[in-house]
Each structure stands twice: as structure tokens, then as C-alpha cells.
Amino acid sequence: MAAASSDILLDGAGIHATMDRLAGEILSSLPAGVPVGIIGIRRRGEVLAQRLVHELNRRGAAGLEAGSLDITLYRDDLAELGPQAILRKTEIDFDINGRYIILVDDVLYTGRSVRSAIDALVDLGRPKAIRLAVLVDRPGRELPVQADFVGLKVEQSDVPVTVLLTESDGAEEVRVG
């Protein structure tokens, strides 16, 4: 894909179709008889997690729990963030011990957010397994972290990716550049 100044990679319908496909992939991967938790990383991962849970429930998945995770306190750049660090609530009202956890975020880039999220999760208990689902996978990893479920893979490096979602941003698109 040629790098224009700002390309729209997915519009509203594209995001919807991509999330549907992810839901299907996740559903067929769920181990039988193990409780499942879908946990979104605040803030856009939370939106995507809620959509996934809705879609999985619609397709008949049973016993799903949904939660959201704030990773502010676990960030490795907290000291440099300064006053921009705004703490939000972690809301996981279920026991994650022995549960199969799907961690959801909008963009996978350096891998540092996911590292923080895994640290935060293991402070809450010992999940059976943690899998990672992202809407966009972008090059630039600084840690050995890979996603298990990827909506869209962007090949261009050093180009910012913007995800906008209705619930958090009032618009719906994935843009590069």
C-alpha cells in the first residue's frame, strides 16, 4: 500500500466486518468447559471488548464475563508521562483465576501497553491463559509480544495509525498517516 498523507484503511462498515471476523475466530478457538473473560484495555480496547462480547453472546457463546483494565499504574513510562497520566477505574468484577482471558486493544505497536496489561492481570490472579486480540497490528515492537487475533495488519513502519470509535470518539474509522 502506498503511503499517502492520510489513508482511511477501514470505515465504519469495514470495522464492523473486521470485528465480526475476529469474533468468529475467537469463538472457534475457545477451549471447551473453561470460563472466559474478555478484558479491554482502557479506553478504546474497552469499547472493542464490549462489541466482541455482544457479538459472541449473539452467536451463542455462554458464560462470558466482560471487564476493563486501566494500565496507568503499570506503565513503564509513568515517571515521564507527567500530569497527563489520568487514572481510570479497573472494572473486573469476576475471579480471573483459572479463566481463559482474551485481552483486547485497538492498536498493537511497541508492545509496552500489553506488557503493562499482563502485569496488571497477574496481580489480580492466575488466569488459565491470556490471549491477545487487536484491531490493528502495526510494526514497531520493542518487546517480544505478538497478537493471537489480528483485525488488520499495517505493513508501513513509522506511520502513525489512528483508530476512532463511536463510543469514545464520536466517529468510526481506522486511518494511517
Binding site: T72, G82, L87, E91, D123
Partner: protein
């Protein structure tokens, strides 16, 4: 910055904790910039609400199996207590530990202060060991402000003389908001030794900024008219003040700060200003009763009232942890100039 104050999460019923709000919060471009917390007098309503909101997020940490987050890992927090304290000192220690900070606990009576070292020298020597934050309690009003001028560390006021005790007032306000679902429009009555009380001063500043109507009540010798200038009403009749009250905050008689006889006898004080079961008959059924501790049972508060269903006194202590975690976290993130006095 527009001051559109989203005062509340969903209202909580008495006896319940606030329901979690799973809807997506709107991004707020709010930036906390204060490197110290010296008092509530200087804070805006928006800053007060930001602390309360941050504390709500920290409440969840205390419910985890591992009650610790790495936010202040590698930071050193010094408790510098020149006056006795149980609750505040232990609460700050535990709050700092839950943020993974290292804590030094200083007690003036066992230190070089008893050998004649000045406050400035004590603080500068501790600072030289490489610490980040001082939490200070001192009998002299303004001691925390003074420390901001002689060090580059963050400073949190844990009570200075009769001036302010900001974290206690934040706890009281947080507890009121948790039980009542709001602050704006509430009638809050503060009873007792108002004159000597830093808790009363901080409460009046904080509550009035958030839109509560505050009445301070006590004997004429213990309730200065000056409180009217701070935005509170002054009364010497407890029963009259309690009629419309939504919240009553009972303060201890601070004998250690009194230099003369301020009321004829404890019996008379109890009859006029003690909160008893009989006195509660004429009040709203959901009157919330607070006390910052330590309680003198049978003086300002009857034992059965202190332990009764309207009392949130132990909840105040639990909430103290979340408030102090929030304050330690916020001042340590602030990039403002720590050397300058913020006034």
C-alpha cells in the same frame, strides 16, 4: 478550560458503596499540576473533584488479592510527624506501600530534634539521602509551606497546627459523596471545638467550594465568627442546626491545644453539644454521622450513636487509604516547580 463539573457517578444509597460505572468516560483534558498539597483553601472545585475521582479508581486496588500497584516504585516517601498520630500516620504508610514506594517513618521524639536540630536542618539532611516526598504533621501552622521553600521535594500537609488538614477533609467529603451521591446542596453541620480544628477549616474550604451549605456549631468560646468570612454559617444551638442537616461531622475537644477553661464542665458540654440518641430523634432519618477520630466516647459522641447505622466513621478510615494513595500519586506525577511556594 471550561469548568463543566461532572459532579457525580450514579447516586449511592445509604449503606452501599458506589455502583461501578461501566460506560465509557469522556476524555477530559484536565491536567493536575500541583507538586504539593498544602491545604484545600487554594484548590479549585475542579481540582477537588479530580482528587476524589482519582481516589475512586484507587479504591479498587485495596480489593485485589495483591493489594499493590507499581506506580511509585523507586520513590521514597518520608513521614515527618512532629505531633502524635495513629490513623493518619499509618494510613499514609500503607498508602505509600500500596503504591510500591519506600517509606521512612520519622518520629520527632526519637530524633535529633530532641537534641536541638532545627526543622530546616532536619528536612535538608533527610533530603540529602535522596527522598522524593515529605508528609508532614507539625504543631506550627505553615510548617509544610516553610518546607516547600527549603527543599525540592514534594510536600503533603498531614495537619499543621490549627490551620489545615487537607487529606482528612478530602476523606470526609469523599465519604459524604459516597453515601449521599452528591455534595452540592447538602446541609453539613460541623460540631465542637471549631476554633482549634484544622479539620473544620479544611472541611469548610472544601465543602463550600463544592456547593454544600456548611454550619459550624459549638460554644461561643470555641466557634469564632471568622468562620462566616470563610463561607460557613455560625450557630450555638445544635438542635436547631441538626433539623435540616444531611450530614453532621462531630469533632473532638482538643484539650492539648487549650490554654484556658473554655466551657464550665464536660457535663454541660455533653448536654448542649454531645450527639446522643435522644438528640437524633428530631433529625432526618438518613442523617450521616462522621467523626475524624479519635473519638472521646460519651463526650462529643454517645457510644451507641458512634456505632449505629447512621455512622460512617470506620468507612472514613477505609476511604483514607484511597484518598492518600490518590494524593501521593498526583503530587508525585506533577511536573510543577517544587522549590517555589505555590502561593
Amino acid at each position: 478550560m471550561s469548568v463543566d463539573l461532572p459532579e457525580n457517578e450514579p447516586a449511592a444509597q445509604a449503606g452501599q458503596t458506589i455502583q461501578s460505572n461501566s460506560s465509557i468516560e469522556q476524555a477530559r483534558d484536565y491536567v493536575w499540576s500541583r507538586p504539593h498539597l498544602l491545604g484545600l483553601e487554594d484548590l479549585s472545585a475542579e481540582e477537588l473533584l479530580h482528587i476524589l475521582k482519582t481516589a475512586e479508581s484507587f479504591q479498587e486496588v485495596s480489593t485485589r488479592s495483591i493489594k499493590k500497584v507499581p506506580a511509585l516504585r523507586g520513590r521514597v516517601i518520608v513521614n515527618l510527624f512532629f505531633e502524635d498520630s495513629t490513623r493518619t500516620r499509618m494510613s499514609f504508610i500503607l498508602a505509600a506501600q500500596r503504591l510500591s514506594a519506600d517509606v521512612l517513618d520519622f518520629a520527632a521524639s526519637k530524633s535529633s530534634v530532641s537534641k536541638g536540630e532545627s526543622l530546616r536542618d532536619t528536612v535538608r539532611n533527610i533530603e540529602a539521602m535522596g527522598v522524593d516526598t515529605f508528609v508532614i504533621r507539625h504543631s506550627a501552622a505553615g510548617a509544610p509551606h516553610y518546607i516547600t521553600r527549603c527543599t525540592n521535594c514534594h510536600v503533603i500537609n498531614a495537619g499543621d497546627g490549627q490551620h489545615e488538614h487537607p487529606t482528612q477533609a478530602l476523606i470526609d467529603i469523599f465519604t459524604i459523596r459516597e453515601r449521599k451521591g452528591r455534595i452540592k446542596g447538602l446541609n453539613v453541620v460541623i460540631v465542637g471545638d471549631i476554633a482549634h480544628s484544622r479539620v473544620a477549616r479544611s472541611n469548610v474550604w472544601g465543602l463550600t467550594k463544592l456547593g454544600a451549605k456548611v454550619t459550624v456549631v459549638g460554644p461561643t468560646t470555641l466557634v469564632p465568627k471568622a468562620f462566616e468570612k470563610m463561607g460557613a454559617s455560625v450557630s450555638h444551638n445544635l438542635d436547631a442546626a441538626l433539623k435540616e442537616a444531611d450530614v453532621v461531622n462531630m469533632l473532638r475537644i482538643q484539650r492539648e491545644r487549650m490554654t484556658s477553661q473554655v466551657f464550665p464542665s464536660t457535663e454541660e458540654y455533653v448536654r448542649l453539644f454531645g450527639l446522643t440518641r435522644q438528640r437524633l430523634r428530631g433529625t432526618k432519618p438518613d442523617l450521616l454521622i462522621l467523626h475524624p477520630g479519635p473519638i472521646n466516647r460519651g463526650v462529643e459522641l454517645a457510644s451507641d450513636v458512634a456505632d449505629g447505622p447512621n455512622s460512617s466513621i470506620l468507612r472514613q478510615v477505609s476511604n483514607g487509604l484511597a484518598i492518600r494513595m490518590a494524593v501521593l500519586f498526583l503530587v508525585n506525577q506533577a511536573t510543577g516547580d517544587t522549590c517555589a511556594d505555590p502561593q
